[in-house]
Structures are given as structure tokens and as C-alpha cells.
Symmetry: C2
Subunit: 181 residues, 2 copies
DNA sequence: TTAACTGCAAACGTTTTGCAGGCGG
DNA sequence: CCGCCTGCAAAACGTTTGCAGTTAA
């Protein structure tokens, strides 16, 4: 589709983890994965669904339903309604392609899940920035704790609240809310 | 239809951590703390507000706004409207007396924060049970990670998803759903 | 063909808010 | 007395759903 600018994303959202390997995976990989899932459920791949997957995996940004809807509105190949966006988000979660990662301003924030290393987030309460990090120790500790409680751990969600580097600066030089990705 | 397991959130939650010490703190301690906060903001302590604090700290259960509203309805000293419950919940969070701890069935779940040791939760996706645990290592790791990113950590929220002991059992021996209320 | 899909709009459930009257300090 | 506080009802919010026409397989 779009000529691959190897660029991450336009806006300044640091992604401190790199993609699984050096290069950006072709979007078709995810579409195929989704098609498999759909087919296993007796569902169909449609123009709308593949367009949504394409949009979501065209960059590694965090996003919410509203942002995705707006991004879809700008595409030429398929206009996708809000309902379909929401329905698709649910299915993509079921399929393991994306996951809810945090909650900001009363909205669920999603991110890529499939083919991306497990990680957690530092969330800036001032500017809303999400900083990814990965740490094996946390998983190990959780695994151990779960075991002690006879709990079968399936996953976790860890949000670290605080202030990012920029927002720690004195108020005068502090950037305004840049909540939109 | 949600893809979530169709389970209500249980009202009776196991608390695997004990209160700070053996005895239950007098509720007045919390009311006093709240009064301080209010006063520092030029706000007032009212019959409704103290009743809410009293209700919340009369037991160490997790709760959501709806449950709290119902509990308030049964009190003799003050009828408290839903609006006031919500407004009060917000202020109690600001005051550091309670905090949101998870999200279940589209509702925020709250718990005591002030005077209670820092901890996290195992959340059973089957029966909704919240199991508290405490582990210093996690905080240490997070503190270190935050520092590496120039992030000023203020707190965190860690939800471990999975299945609790009971719900791991084979269906035959599985206890009936913890019922609500 | 036919069952799943879509957009639309209306419905939903939780939380927030505008308002007029009440009350704490 | 001032201005914060309350309950009420209605609004707002993200999200879900019923429906009738559309489309993938």
C-alpha cells in the first residue's frame, strides 16, 4: 500500500522498545492472522476489516477507538463506521492482535499485541505520554506470587503513574497537554 | 455481547492482606484526615461527606460507586444521593484516602488507600475475586526503571489476570459462583 | 444463495453537570 | 451572610445493539 517510510510515527511518542526485529512487518501478516481467526469462527474477511487492520498496524502507535475512527475516515479504500470500528476492535482483541493497555480520559487505549514483545508502561499524568518498558523480573515475581496463591496467571496490566521527563520541569517550561497521539 | 466471561463481580472479597495491625482503625481517623484535606481546599465537612467516609471505612471491602450508593441508602444518619457519592469519591481520591484499583463490568473498583499497605491484585476472570498481595521487589524494580527514563513515579496500578484457585478446578468440583450480595 | 456484514440511529449504563434551594462556618 | 453543598433531573460520555439493506464465499 503506502510506500514504507521506515519512520516510526509522526508525533513525538517515544517508543523505547524496538519492534521485534529491525524491519517493519508487512501489514499483510496481520491481515492473514486475522483472516485465520475469523475463518475459525465462521466469520468473513471484509474490505472494512482488512482496512482497519491495515490502519492499526501501519504504525506502532497507541490509539483509542475514537482516534482509529478518525483515521479510518481519511482512508480512500473503505469508509468504516464507528460501530464497525468497535466491533472490529473486539474481534482483534479476541484474535490476540491487539490489547487494551491503559485507560486515559475514560477511554480504553489499545496497542499491538501480536508479534510484539511483552512490556508495560510509564504513563505521564501531565501530558499523557506512554513510555514502554520491558522487564523480565516483574514477570518472574508475578509468576511466583501467583503460584503461592494457587492462581493461574494469564497476563497482567501494569500502569506506572507519574510525570515524564519533560513534565518534571518547572511549570513555565512545561508543555501543554498533548494527549492526542 | 461482551467477550468477557459472564460473571458478576462478587461482593465478598477475600482479603489476603490483613489491615495494618490487628485492630480496626476508628473511622474517625479517616474523617479527620478528610476534614483536613477539605479545609485545605476551602471546602467543608458535611453530614453527607462524613457518612460516606464512615461507610467506606467501616469495612475493608472493595466497592464500586453503585454498591456504595446502595449501602448509603440503608443508613439512618444521612441519605446521600448518587451525585454526592460520585463527587465524594472524587474528593476522597484526591485526598489520598481511596484509589481506583481495577475495572470490572465497566465500573471502577475502589479500595482503601490511606493507612493501608501498598499492594496489588490478582483478578480472577471467572468469578471476579480480587486477591491482594504485597511485594517490595516490584516497587524496587519500578523505581529503578522510572529513574532510567527520567520519570518521576507517583504510583502504579497492577492487575494480574488469570484464574483463582477455585476456578482452576475441574468443572465438577468447581464451587458455584460466588453470588453477588 | 444465504448467512454474515455494514451503516445508521437509537439505546445503554456509568458518570457528570446545571440548577434552585439548603446550610456550614 | 457568603458561598459551598445538596438532590434532582437531564446531559454527557464512550460503547453497544436492532434493524434493513449489502456483500462475501
Amino acid at each position: 500500500m503506502s510506500a514504507q517510510p521506515a519512520v516510526r510515527n509522526s508525533h513525538s511518542h517515544d517508543v523505547d522498545l524496538k519492534p521485534a526485529e529491525g524491519t517493519v512487518q508487512p501489514v499483510s501478516k496481520y491481515i492473514e492472522k486475522f483472516r485465520e481467526f475469523l475463518s475459525s469462527k465462521g466469520l468473513r474477511m471484509t474490505r472494512e476489516r482488512s482496512a482497519v487492520v491495515e490502519e492499526i498496524f501501519s504504525s506502532h502507535e497507541h490509539f483509542d477507538a475514537d482516534q482509529l475512527e478518525r483515521r479510518m475516515a481519511q482512508r480512500r479504500d473503505a469508509r468504516v463506521s464507528r460501530s464497525t470500528v468497535y466491533r472490529c476492535l473486539g474481534q482483534l482483541q479476541e484474535a490476540g492482535l491487539i490489547r487494551k493497555v491503559a485507560r486515559q480520559d475514560d477511554r480504553e487505549i489499545f496497542e499491538h499485541d501480536y508479534g510484539y514483545p511483552q512490556h508495560d508502561h510509564l504513563i505521564c499524568g501531565q501530558c499523557g505520554r506512554l513510555i514502554e518498558f520491558h522487564n523480565d523480573a516483574i514477570n518472574d515475581v508475578l509468576q511466583e506470587i501467583a503460584q503461592q496463591h494457587g492462581f493461574r496467571m494469564e497476563g497482567h496490566r501494569l500502569e506506572v503513574q507519574g510525570l515524564c521527563d519533560d513534565c518534571c520541569q518547572p511549570p513555565e517550561s512545561r508543555p501543554k497537554k498533548l494527549n492526542l497521539l
